[in-house]
């Protein structure tokens, strides 16, 4: 409960400050933000925008995480491949995901596909790098046990490498999920006319600070809920008897 004290105080101060200042195009008192939120909730615009953003974020997360996971496992297991792909990957990685927008826009046009493509590009990296580290960091003695038992390469990955690396790979997935939401909203703000990012832009351009702030707070709530859900899943999956 103590965690709520400071935010509540700040809201009260913001309310008083905004009332004293009078009407503004930039900021709105929290009470009006709350009213705008209820309005967006009633007319369905909030639900629609949230749905669009989450479809793009989850779609991109699924594609990017799958690709990053596969690449990370392969590179973590195989030193020669790791060295072969090191340079191309290190050149691609620093490219900001928003910088891909112009290329992707020409190729894919507006809509889900554009957003999913860019989100997946952004999600590949945390997944790839942490998975590779997790796989390469598997206890060497366990790999020797696999050799002594003459497990096939596939059986070694399935029975030894994957379960040993899984807890750390899940942390990577949680990071990638955070990135997915950020990048989805960013793409919407930059170009894609849909989702929470576009709703934020529209409200801002319509000089509706109350509605803009309502959407902004909502984006934070969605991100927080997503992370809590993943933390809870992580604790359920790896809470007991898990290798750390």
């Amino acid at each position: 409960m103590r965690g709520f004290v400071l935010p509540l105080l700040l809201i009260v101060f913001a309310e008083i400050g905004a009332r004293l200042h009078g009407a503004s195009d930039v900021l709105a008192p929290p009470s009006e933000v709350a009213l705008a939120f209820v309005e967006a909730l009633r007319d369905g615009s909030l639900a629609l925008a949230t749905r669009d953003t989450l479809i793009a974020a989850f779609g991109g997360l699924a594609a990017g995480a799958a690709l990053g996971l596969a690449l990370g496992v392969v590179l973590g297991v195989s030193r020669p491949l790791d060295r072969l792909l090191e340079l191309p990957l290190e050149v691609l990685r620093p490219i900001p995901s928003v910088a891909v927008i112009p290329v992707a826009l020409v190729a894919l046009g507006f809509g889900y596909r554009l957003e999913i493509a860019i989100v997946s590009f952004a999600c590949i990296w945390p997944m790839l790098i942490l998975t590779r580290a997790a796989v390469a960091g598997v206890e060497p003695r366990l790999l020797e046990v696999a050799r002594v038992l003459r497990l096939s390469p596939l059986a070694t990955v399935v029975k030894i490498v994957a379960p040993a690396a899984l807890p750390r790979i899940f942390v990577a997935f949680r990071l990638a999920a955070g990135v997915a939401l950020i990048v989805a909203v960013t793409v919407e703000i930059a170009v894609n006319p849909q989702g929470l990012g576009a709703a934020l832009m529209t409200a801002g351009q319509a000089l509706r600070p109350d509605l803009t702030l309502a959407f902004l707070v909502w984006v934070g709530v969605v991100g927080f809920a997503l992370n809590q859900l993943l933390l809870w899943t992580e604790a359920r999956l790896f809470g007991k008897g898990a290798a750390r």
Binding site: E144, L149, A155, I160, G241, A242, A243
Partner: protein
Amino acid sequence: MIVFDNVRLAYGDQLVLGGLSFEIKPHEILCLIGPSGCGKTTALRIAAGLVTPTSGEARFDGAAIKGPRRDVAVVFQDYAKALLPWRTAAGNVALALEAMGAPRAGRAAHISALLERVGLKGQETKYPSQMSGGMQQRLQIARCLAQEPAALMMDEPFGALDAMTRQSLQDEMLDIARLTGATILFVTHDLEEAIYLGDRVIGLAPHPGRIGIELPIDLPRPRDQVATRESPRFLALRRQLYDFIHGVESAAR
């Protein structure tokens, strides 16, 4: 059964083993001792097929050892790292059965029998992290027995355990050896352990690793932790090995 024929091993220009030749006979317990850096663990890893010699040949039943084989099991010293922490005791034993392609039917009963043989009766559902060091090493031995090995390679398996646990595991290991008839290569730095367990003890001298002493252990079996260790013959053998180790260590200084 296992033959080392002039086995040399070099890492770069550093010679680890310099022409090692010896034989482990079927059903024999051969103990390898020596100061650190003498290459005793390396020799075991060559016998297990985990390391390939630079020159010379290690043979198993007449055929050159090209890699690990399922009928040669390895008991590692660091049992905590050699067990799968996310699997229960039963699951860890099952790993070997899965590798062997053993039929699923009757697996649970087989696992229980193996656990009972190493003194872990009823511990099927425990995780390694819930077990003591001695129990973890017993579990690793159970997994090795699941391979139905013709030979057991044991790399200082009891080195990290306290004295009481070590002695009971020594006796259990001798029982297992007698019951299964497995040939055993046992690496240790503990002279008394080597004499107590072995049919024969080979002492390696370091830089490069080579045979410095070879002693047949003519102590009667079954052996006894008190009577055997107090017998004049045991003490004489211990003296001989001690003088050897002391000699190579002071020569190295």
